[in-house]
Amino acid sequence: MNAMGTISLGFIRSPRADFLWFVALPPIALLIAFFFHNTLPYVAQASVAVWVTAPHHYAGWVRGYGLDEDWTRWKNRLILGPIILIPSIVLGTAMVPVTLGIVFLLWDHQHSLMQQYGFARIYDFKAGTDAAFTKRFDFILSVLLYGNMLITAPLWAELWIAELHRWGLALDVEAIRQIQAMSWMILGAFAVIYVGHVIAGAVRGDRFNPMKYLFLLSSYGLWYFVSWQDSFLLYIVAHRIMHGVQYILMVYWYVERKADRTGKTPLLLSNLSLSRFLLLGGAYAIVFHLVTGGNLSHFSFGLINSLQMDPILNFSLEKATGFYAATAVSAASACHYYLDSYIWKIRDPQIQEGL
């Protein structure tokens, strides 16, 4: 922490690492996304899911299931979460796919906004700038910024306008424009209140961490920019890189810091029990099998074949494979969203040890 008057600089890792991964990464991710947009086929966006999104799920598993401390602390949730979520995903995929799509889109947005809000909270924690009401003000700012983007940006407005038609709640153009204008007004009004809160804090002698604001500016700059482009691919690639890379690094640093400060976790993987190590080995085997073009039936315990044989479902091989893949992808995301909703509470002293 480096204090200068009302400014108190605090970094998640170090000045250089923070500027690279939390301030420069979003524009770099945008450049990569434009490369995808201009030169690669649409299907290439799936590779970002494979190489960034899947590993960021894995990082979450390592923290949640790999550390003895987290395992002991949240054992019930870590066991019950997948037991409840996975059958729900299976049922949802089979019976209510539109609902599942909407729920996932909304949960993904909530998850994304909460990750950046969480990093902002870490910046305040690290700089000792967590003044009274700052947490609440930052949360409202995040929700309004993100919500306004969903309401007013064409990329997202196209989606909810279409869904309203499906629900028989279609709005005319004038009503949509009024809602969007109202959203901007609410955001603008709160921005004034927020600035007033910061100025009042400075007058009281509260300090603030400019890194937090640089980080938020960079993150929301990426989201707002891509949401006004006419390309879903740009959003998918840029967002997944920012979200996934920052998360993977955060987990790595967290585990490392925990090891340094508590001595309980010497290295990322060395404290894993045999059973968890075997589970990771199984996951590696699945990934290796898929990457090398192996047939899904070989490790699905006959699930795909049984779907084909089922007299009611009567799936083709293609449909069974698609069903299996869609279920697996959705289930992994659901478990990840749920896990993250409780393992990153910055107010928690045990978590602060890893920050």
Binding site: H37, P41, Y42, V43, G81, S88, G92, M95, V96, P97, V98, T99, L100, I102, V103, L106, W107, Q110, P154, A157, E158, I161, A162, H165, R166, W167, G168, A170, L171, D172, V173, I176, R177, D230, S231, F232, L233, E318, Y337, Y338, S341, Y342
Partner: protein, 177 residues
């Protein structure tokens, strides 16, 4: 109270999801294809094509919705349909031009815009080179697509239409997913 607070995210997800699921299981408009049906595209009071075009006239989906609208009101007997009355008559090549505008935005997230472009080219008897190029663009971007080859789709539609005409029934050639 503490338990509820700790579980608020998952509870909200399930309450919201179950509510939506109840709608999806009971309302016809939750069919995946609902948004490209005539109720959504040609409703004279408000429809997604007109709303999108007015709000975002230069975006890919606005052009594509208008192409779907035009395809629903073009062809023998279609202009006389109640939902097409009061709309400007579809001009020659209008559907093709609208899809070309949609693709020219660079947005490639709509597989059916690429697919239907190839279909429209086939229907307009475009040169084989143009058709092959359009199909190649679709295939490169969506290599795992389960849709029939557009040439086969048009061939099948023409056969169905011919047999329909023999039995006095007209069939649609346009695939407007």
């Amino acid at each position: 109270m503490g338990w509820l607070r700790a579980q608020k995210v998952i509870l909200l997800v399930y309450i919201g999801g179950l509510t939506l699921a109840a709608f999806e299981l009971n309302l016809a408009q939750f069919e995946p294809d609902y948004l490209i049906k005539s109720e959504s595209l040609l409703n004279p009071e408000t429809n997604i094509a007109d709303v999108s075009s007015e709000l975002y006239p230069d975006r890919a989906y606005s052009f594509y919705y208008r192409a779907l609208q035009a395809s629903m009101c073009s062809g023998p007997g279609r202009e006389a349909q109640p939902e097409c009355q009061g709309r400007d008559p579809v001009k020659p090549h209008e559907i093709r031009e609208l899809i070309e505008h949609s693709l020219a935005t660079g947005n490639r997230s709509n597989e059916m815009a690429m697919y239907n472009y190839a279909i429209v080219l086939l229907q307009e008897n475009a040169t084989p080179e143009l058709v092959d190029a359009a199909i190649a663009v679709w295939r490169v971007n969506y290599p795992q697509s389960k849709n029939l080859d557009p040439r086969e789709m048009v061939r099948e539609a023409r056969q169905t239409s011919a047999s329909g005409n023999r039995t006095g029934r007209g069939e649609s050639e346009h695939r407007t997913r």
